[in-house]
Each structure stands twice: as structure tokens, then as C-alpha cells.
């Protein structure tokens, strides 16, 4: 792997940047792998990377039906935080957060991780109570999170309307200052490049159409382009299409796929140097380095695989944003899109074994998968290497929907759920 550095950039500038190495190979798949990962998004690529790096398993293929990082990895609103309520989630998301903090160095790829803080505004007494509870829980878990009052909030975010004149006046906010955002594509590309360098085969334009299962055990997958590829273990990390793959395996998952929409404005001068989320008026926003306002909406209530949602959802979100930031009322929106998110009934993910031996699922991240990318990959790699889950991933088994040990994160999962 060609190491990226300032010196390298200068060296290549002398040859007009025409001699850069390809970032990853484009291999033809082998007939047999130790592990096949279905889904070449952020989570799948991270899984492949950690399998190779931490477990020494390099005979791995990542099968992607489109291009790498072309699904939800390039459709999300890039927020990273770890202030969830329950200990199980705190352990999971904080594990991820700590990996985020060293990620650019580790991958030798600038993922533009920016710890600019994430605010959750409170508009009612109940909002204040539940956020104070969240802050208290996080402190006991050793995770930073604090409350600020409306006056302090106005000083920290001058462009936001924290006055009493708002329709739903802001009473205060919780803020995790280590939280922030990152460059979504770079995360997928960085993991892809690092995994490829360790010998992982990244197979693009390769759609899985069936699974080879005999005696309750998976032996391989059938692809549209390359026929049957054998594998000792198979991991599915396909977000919105998890239900489709589960059907091929003949199992059922407690997830439903919904469209989740986002939109960005035309680029404007810097006016918001942090991330603001409001569960109450239902909208969240940050400003990208290019100057676009990145705005996230909620999910459509019905099942949908179309990567587009209804207009009413966006309209509602824009109302909330204009309510909180009246100065944005005449900003024009540039683009709007949808991704398919697989939501679990308890708003927590599934990282689990399945009734089929050697088949594993990592899904159900719902509306909050981006922040989990490194942690999800790291823990799922452990699951695939050992055949049993890492202690942090153990509570996130499919079994919890039968035992009743749910991890209810509807409060902390935020706006979109």
C-alpha cells in the first residue's frame, strides 16, 4: 500500500498527479474463502479490515452488488456520538468512538473526523428530565455528556433562536463535546484501501442471489456474476436489504426497512460549527466543510425499499430547522435523497449468530449506523473469527427478541426513529 503523506503529495505534484497507485485491486473471486462478507458498505469493509488485521484471517471476500460505499455509507448525515442510555449501548458506541479517535492515523487515510460536539436541544420539561437522566447515566458509564442552559446555549450557538419567542422555546440542551462528524465516503474508502492492502478481495458488481445451505449449515453463496462461491463462514452486513438476504437463508429477522431522507442546501458561509439535534421539533443539522447545511429528516412510517420517501417528512423537518434557525428561512436546498434503513423494534442493532450454522448477521442499525461503523466492524470481525460474539456484542443477539432482554434506545436514538 502506498503510504499517504504530505511529502508524497508534493512528490506526485511534480508529475502532475498522474502516477498515483490504484487505491485497491479489482480481483476476480476465488472459488473458496474462509469468510465471505456480503455488503461492501462501511460496516462490511470495516469487518473485513479488522478480520485481517486483528484476527489474521486474510482469505476474505467482500461481495458488493453495486460499488463500495454506495448505499447508506454515502447517504447518511455523518454524525458520530456515544451518548446512549443503557450500559450495553454505551459500551458498544463508546467502543466505536474510541476507534474513531485514532482512525485516520490507523488507516493512513484522512476520514476528516471532527469532534465539534453534538447538542440535543430540550423544548419541554420532559425533554429536560430525560436528557438529564441521559447525562447522569453517561457520567456513570464514564462517557462525557453535560447539560447547558438556554443562556449558555445562545452564547455557544449564536445563530440559533434560544429566545422565549420561539413556538417551542429551547429550555436547555445536553452536549457531548467529544461527538461530532466525519467524512462518510472517506471512512468506506479508507477501510477498503486498508483491507485490500492486507489481502482482502473486494468484489464489486457482484450480487448474491441465493445461499448454499445444507443440514442447517451454510457452505457458500450463489452470485449472479460468478456462480457459487464457497465459504466457511458468511457474514451479512447489508442494512436495508437484510430482510431480503434473511429470506434467502429461510430465517426471519425482527427488522423493517424504511426510507430515511436527508437533504443539503447550497453552500453558504460558515455559520454553524457544531451539530444540533432536536427530538422535540424533529430535525437536525450540521454544516459541512464545503458550507452545505446537512439536514436529516425522520423515517417514513411504512416499509419501503425505493431509496426515496414522501415529501411531507421533509417539509416537517424543514419547518423544525427554520423554527430553530430563523436565519436559514431563505436558504435554498440543493439535493435531497433517501436511504433504506433496517430498524429494530428496540432501536438497537443486531450483531448475532443465526439458526443457520456459520451464518451471521450484523443489521438493524436503523437510523444510527454511521457512528457505529468502526465498532460494528471490530466486533463483527470478532464474531466471524471466533464463531461466537465478543462480550460487548453479546447483548445484541437476535435472542433478545425471544428472551425479552431488549435494549430500548428509542429515547437516545434520536430524531429519526
Amino acid at each position: 500500500m502506498q503510504k499517504y503523506s504530505g511529502f508524497g503529495l508534493f512528490k506526485h505534484s511534480l508529475t502532475h498527479h498522474e502516477n498515483w497507485q490504484r487505491v485497491w485491486r479489482n480481483p476476480t473471486p476465488k472459488k473458496k474463502y474462509d469468510v465471505i462478507i456480503i455488503g461492501g458498505g462501511g460496516h462490511g469493509l470495516a469487518t473485513a479490515y479488522y478480520l485481517a488485521k486483528e484476527h489474521g484471517i486474510t482469505n476474505v471476500a467482500v461481495l458488493e452488488k453495486g460499488h463500495l460505499g454506495g448505499g447508506n455509507a454515502c447517504r447518511n448525515t455523518t454524525i458520530v456520538r456515544s451518548n446512549y442510555l443503557w450500559d450495553e449501548s454505551a459500551a458498544l458506541y463508546e467502543h466505536s468512538m474510541q476507534l474513531w479517535e485514532g482512525l485516520a492515523q490507523e488507516l493512513n487515510y484522512n476520514v476528516m473526523f471532527s469532534q465539534r460536539g453534538v447538542y440535543h436541544t430540550c423544548h419541554t420539561l420532559q425533554d429536560m428530565r430525560s436528557n438529564e437522566r441521559l447525562v447522569a447515566a453517561n457520567r456513570l458509564q464514564g462517557i462525557d455528556n453535560e447539560m447547558v442552559d438556554a443562556e449558555q446555549l445562545q452564547k455557544e450557538i449564536p445563530t440559533m433562536d434560544c429566545s422565549k419567542n420561539a413556538r417551542y422555546p429551547i429550555m436547555g440542551a445536553s452536549v457531548q463535546r467529544r461527538a461530532g462528524n466525519a467524512r462518510h465516503d472517506a471512512v468506506a474508502w479508507g477501510y477498503a484501501r486498508a483491507a485490500d492492502a492486507l489481502g482482502v478481495d473486494l468484489i464489486q458488481n457482484c450480487e448474491v442471489i441465493d445461499m448454499e445451505i445444507s443440514d442447517g449449515k451454510i457452505t457458500g453463496v450463489k452470485t449472479k456474476q460468478y456462480g457459487v462461491l464457497k465459504a466457511d463462514r458468511v457474514g451479512c452486513v447489508v442494512a436495508g436489504n437484510s430482510g431480503v438476504l434473511a429470506k434467502m437463508a429461510g430465517i426471519e429477522l425482527p427488522v423493517e426497512s424504511h426510507p430515511l431522507q436527508a437533504l443539503v442546501s447550497e453552500p453558504i458561509k460558515p455559520f454553524l460549527d457544531t451539530v444540533v439535534m432536536s427530538n422535540h421539533v424533529h430535525g437536525y443539522m450540521s454544516q459541512s466543510d464545503k458550507g452545505d447545511l446537512v439536514i436529516g429528516a425522520g423515517i417514513d412510517g411504512w416499509v419501503g425499499y425505493g431509496q426515496r420517501g414522501s415529501y411531507g417528512i421533509i417539509e416537517h423537518t424543514i419547518q423544525a430547522i427554520v423554527e430553530m434557525f430563523p436565519c436559514t428561512s431563505r436558504v435554498r436546498m440543493n439535493r435531497q435523497w433517501g436511504g433504506i434503513v433496517d430498524a429494530c423494534p428496540d432501536a438497537s442493532p443486531i450483531i448475532s449468530e443465526t439458526p443457520i450454522k456459520n451464518l451471521f448477521f450484523n443489521c438493524g442499525w436503523g437510523t444510527g449506523g454511521f457512528k457505529g461503523t468502526p465498532g460494528s466492524g471490530n466486533l463483527f470481525a470478532h464474531t466471524l473469527a471466533d464463531g461466537k460474539p465478543h462480550p460487548i456484542a453479546e447483548p445484541f443477539s437476535i435472542q433478545r427478541f425471544h428472551t425479552g432482554a431488549l435494549i430500548d434506545e428509542h429515547g437516545a436514538a434520536g430524531v429519526a426513529h
Binding site: 436489504n241 430482510g243 429477522l253 423493517e256 416499509v303 425499499y305 414522501s310 425471544h402
Partner: protein, 94 residues
């Protein structure tokens, strides 16, 4: 934006007036006490999640407030038919 025909009002209305209440035709276990944890879990949490035809329960929340069923394609979002509670669909998902 879906354009939905309410079988009770006998009119097309915009999606904003409606609310989707999830998968249709789920019947409550007849003897809940006798359910195993698996059966109870399946009833509560496991839903069909098809890429294709799907039967859904909808309510005309800002209208007549009555429930009805809908058969809809989850890929193209095309509504195949709507029918009242208690009726069976004529376009059947697999």
C-alpha cells in the same frame, strides 16, 4: 407522496391524512398464557419485511379515523388495492 383511496370515505386523499400501522392480518394468539417465549416474541416483534408486495394496516387518522388494509409494492411504492378490515386481498403477496 402516496395518494391513497380511503375505502370508508370513498375518496382519494393525500398521504399526510393517513398513518401506517404496520403489517396487516396479524392475529393475537388465542391463548396467550400457553405461548412459549418464541411464539410470543414472534407475535410481538417479527414482521414480514418484503421487497415487493406487502399487506399493510392503515388508518385515516386525520379523516374518518377508521382502519383499512392496503396491498402495496414496497419497491415501486405502487398501491395495488385497498380493502376494508375483515376482507381478504385479491392481489396476494407471496
Amino acid at each position: 407522496m402516496l395518494h391513497i383511496y380511503c375505502p370508508h370515505c370513498a375518496e382519494y386523499r393525500e398521504e399526510d391524512e393517513f398513518h401506517c400501522a404496520g403489517q396487516a392480518h396479524i392475529s393475537r394468539p388465542l391463548d396467550p398464557e400457553a405461548c412459549s417465549d418464541e411464539e410470543w416474541g414472534e407475535y410481538l416483534f417479527f414482521r414480514k419485511n418484503p421487497r415487493g408486495l406487502h399487506h399493510e394496516l392503515w388508518v385515516h387518522a386525520a379523516g374518518c379515523r377508521k382502519f383499512f388494509n392496503m396491498t402495496r409494492d414496497t419497491q415501486s411504492y405502487e398501491i395495488k388495492e385497498v380493502y376494508k378490515i375483515g376482507e381478504q386481498p385479491s392481489v396476494v403477496a407471496e
